[in-house]
C-alpha cells in the first residue's frame, strides 16, 4: 500500500473517531434532554390533575375537563386519565375523541408502589402518578406524543449524519492531496538517483528552494555522491597509475629479451641480460608487494588482524630492519620520557601494517637526506602516542606537501632515487586506518619532520 494512501487512511480513521464521539455525544444529550423535558411536563400535569381531582368539592370533572382542553402544552394527542384505589376510571380526557387508551392494572399497581413511573402507550409517552391525601388515593395518568421534540431530534440527527459524512469525505480528499504533496519529493529524489549511475556520477539531486527536511536529505545524498565520485576517481587514477608502473618494467624485460634472442650470444652477454632482467623482476615483485599492502590498508579494518600492539616494540625493531635494506642508513631512537605505565604505549592495530607505515616514512627520511640518518622520538601523552620522524634532508617544497600522500606522486619527479611513490600514501592509509593522523613540517634545505599521532587502546 503506498504511503500516501496509508497516511490518508490514518487521517480518516482519526477524524472518524473524533467525529463519531462528538456526534454521538451531542445526539445522546439532546435525546435525553428532550425525554427529560417531556417527562417533567407530563408529571407536572399529572400532579396538577391529581390535586384538582382530590379537591372534587371545589372542581367538578366538567371544570377540570375544560381546564385540560384549554391547556396549551405544545403536545399532541394529550390523554389524561385518573383511577381510584379500586382501579376504577374516575376521570378521562382526550384531545382526539376516538383516542381510547386502556391502562393495564399492572401499571397502576406499579405506580402505587413507586409513586411515579414512566412508560409508553403506543407511540405516546406516559406518566402515572400516585397521589395520596388522607381522603383520596388517586392514580393520575398523563400521556402525550412529543411531536415537536421528536421532530427536533430527527432534524438534529440528520444534521449530525450530514456533517459526519461530509467531514469524513473532506478528510479523505484533503489527506490524500496532502500526503501526495508530501510524498512527491521522495519520488523526485528517487527519480534523480535513478538517473545517476556508476558511469555517470556527476549528476546531482536538485535540492529545491525550501530549506526543509527534503532539502536536508537531498544535500546529504549529494554529499554522499561527492564522496563516491571522489573515491571512484581515486580508484580509477590508482588503477591507471598501477598498470603504468607495472607495464614499464615488463616492457623493459620484454625488449631486453627480444634483442638478446635475435642472435646467438656469448654466455657473458646472456649473464648481463639476465642480471638486468632479474633487477626488473625484483622491482616488479616489490611493486606488487606494495600494491598488496596498499589493498590491505584500503577500506576498513574489518578483515585485518587487530591486536594490542606495543608501539615502542615496533619502533625498536626498526633500526635493524632499515639497516638491512641499506647499510648506510642510520636510525636513532630517542625515547626521552617513557611512561611508567605500559598501557600508554599500546595501540589496537595490525603490527605488520603499523611497522610498514613507519618503516616507509623512516626509509624515506634516510633516503632523501645526505647523512642518511633519521631520528625517531616517541611520546606517550594523554590517550595519544606521538611519533616524530625527523631528518636533516633537503626538505619538501611547501606547495608539494599536499600531494605527497597521493599514490604514485613523487616530489621532484626527475629524482634519481628509486621508488614508486607509494610509501607515504600507504603509510597515510595505514595510520588513518588506525584512526591516527600524519602531519608534515618541512623547511626546504633544513629537513623534514613527520609527526604521527595514534590513539592508545582503551581497555
Amino acid at each position: 500500500m503506498p504511503v500516501k494512501l496509508r497516511i490518508t487512511l490514518l487521517f480518516c480513521l482519526i477524524v472518524f473517531v473524533i467525529l463519531a464521539i462528538v456526534c454521538a455525544t451531542a445526539y445522546y444529550f439532546s435525546y435525553t434532554q428532550r425525554q427529560q423535558n417531556l417527562r417533567t411536563r407530563l408529571s407536572n400535569r399529572a400532579i396538577t390533575l391529581a390535586r384538582l381531582l382530590g379537591q372534587s368539592q371545589v372542581f367538578d370533572q366538567a371544570l377540570i375537563r375544560r381546564i385540560d382542553s384549554s391547556t396549551m402544552l405544545a403536545m399532541k394527542d394529550k390523554t389524561f386519565q385518573a383511577y381510584d384505589y379500586l382501579n376504577k376510571k374516575i376521570y378521562s380526557y382526550s384531545d382526539a375523541v376516538v383516542d381510547t387508551v386502556t391502562i393495564d392494572t399492572n401499571i397502576l399497581d406499579d405506580a402505587r408502589v413507586k409513586g411515579m413511573i414512566f412508560f409508553h402507550i403506543g407511540h405516546k409517552e406516559a406518566v402515572a402518578y400516585h397521589y395520596i391525601t388522607p381522603n383520596t388515593r388517586i392514580v393520575a395518568i398523563t400521556a402525550a406524543y412529543d411531536e415537536e421534540g421528536k421532530a427536533k431530534i430527527r432534524q438534529l440527527r440528520n444534521i449530525l449524519w450530514f456533517s459526519f459524512l461530509s467531514g469524513i469525505i473532506i478528510t479523505f480528499l484533503g489527506g490524500y492531496f496532502f500526503s501526495a504533496r508530501l510524498m512527491r519529493p521522495v519520488r523526485k529524489i528517487a527519480d534523480d538517483i535513478n538517473e545517476i549511475s556508476a558511469h555517470n556520477l556527476s549528476g546531482r539531486i536538485s535540492t529545491g528552494e525550501v530549506k526543509d527536511e527534503w532539502h536536508y536529505l537531498s544535500e546529504t545524498l549529494n554529499r554522499l555522491l561527492n564522496r563516491l565520485q571522489d573515491s571512484f576517481e581515486t580508484q580509477r587514477r590508482f588503477v591507471s597509475n598501477a598498470s603504468h608502473e607495472l607495464s614499464t618494467p615488463l616492457t623493459a624485460i620484454s625488449s631486453q629479451l627480444e634483442v638478446s634472442l635475435q642472435k646467438n650470444r656469448e654466455a657473458q652477454q646472456y649473464r648481463v641480460v639476465m642480471e638486468s632482467v632479474y633487477q626488473d623482476v625484483r622491482h616488479l615483485s616489490k611493486l606488487t608487494q606494495t600494491l598488496l599492502e596498499f589493498a590491505q590498508a584500503s577500506g576498513d579494518a574489518g578483515g585485518l588482524n587487530i591486536l594490542p600492539v606495543r608501539m615502542d616494540e615496533i619502533l625498536m625493531s626498526l633500526p635493524a630492519e632499515i639497516k638491512k635494506s641499506n647499510i648506510d642508513y642510520l636510525v636513532v631512537l630517542s625515547f626521552d620520557d617513557m611512561p611508567a605505565e605500559e598501557e600508554k604505549l599500546i595501540v589496537f592495530g595490525n603490527a605488520e601494517l603499523l611497522f610498514t607505515a613507519i618503516k616507509n616514512i623512516v626509509s624515506n627520511a634516510c633516503k632523501y637526506s645526505a647523512d642518511h640518518k633519521a631520528v625517531i622520538t616517541l611520546k606517550a601523552e594523554h590517550e595519544t602516542i606521538t611519533i616524530a620522524i625527523s631528518d636533516k634532508g633537503k626538505g619538501i617544497p611547501e606547495e608539494e606537501i599536499k600531494y605527497i600522500f597521493q599514490p604514485f606522486y613523487r616530489v621532484n619527479s626527475t629524482s634519481q632515487q628509486a621508488g614508486f611513490g607509494l610509501g607515504l600514501s600507504l603509510a597515510n592509509r595505514i595510520i588513518k586506518l588506525h584512526k591516527g593522523n600524519i602531519t608534515v613540517n618541512s623547511t626546504p634545505g633544513q629537513g623534514t619532520e613527520f609527526v604521527i599521532t595514534v590513539p592508545t587502546a582503551k581497555f
Partner: protein
Amino acid sequence: MNLDSKEVKRGNDVINLTAKEFQLLEYLLRNKNKVVSRAAIAVNVWDIDFDTNTNIIDVYISYLRNKIDKPYERKLIQTHVGMGYILKENDR
C-alpha cells in the same frame, strides 16, 4: 623460560612479555646473581644507537617487574643503586 617457544613461566603461571622484555629477562637470567650495569644492558639488549640520557632501561625494568615480581611476594629483580640491576633466586 623457554627460548624456543618464547614462553615464560613463573611457578605455573604463564607470563606474557613483549619481545624486548623477553630479551631483557633473558639477559638478566644469563647473568643470574650478577649485578649488570645499565650500560651493559644497553649494549647487549639494545644493540642499537640510543640517545644518552634515556630512561628506557629503567622503564623496561619496571615493566618487567610489574609482570614478574608484582604479583609475588619474593622479588627477583633488585636494584643496586648506582650500579645496576641483579636477578637473584633467593634473598639472604
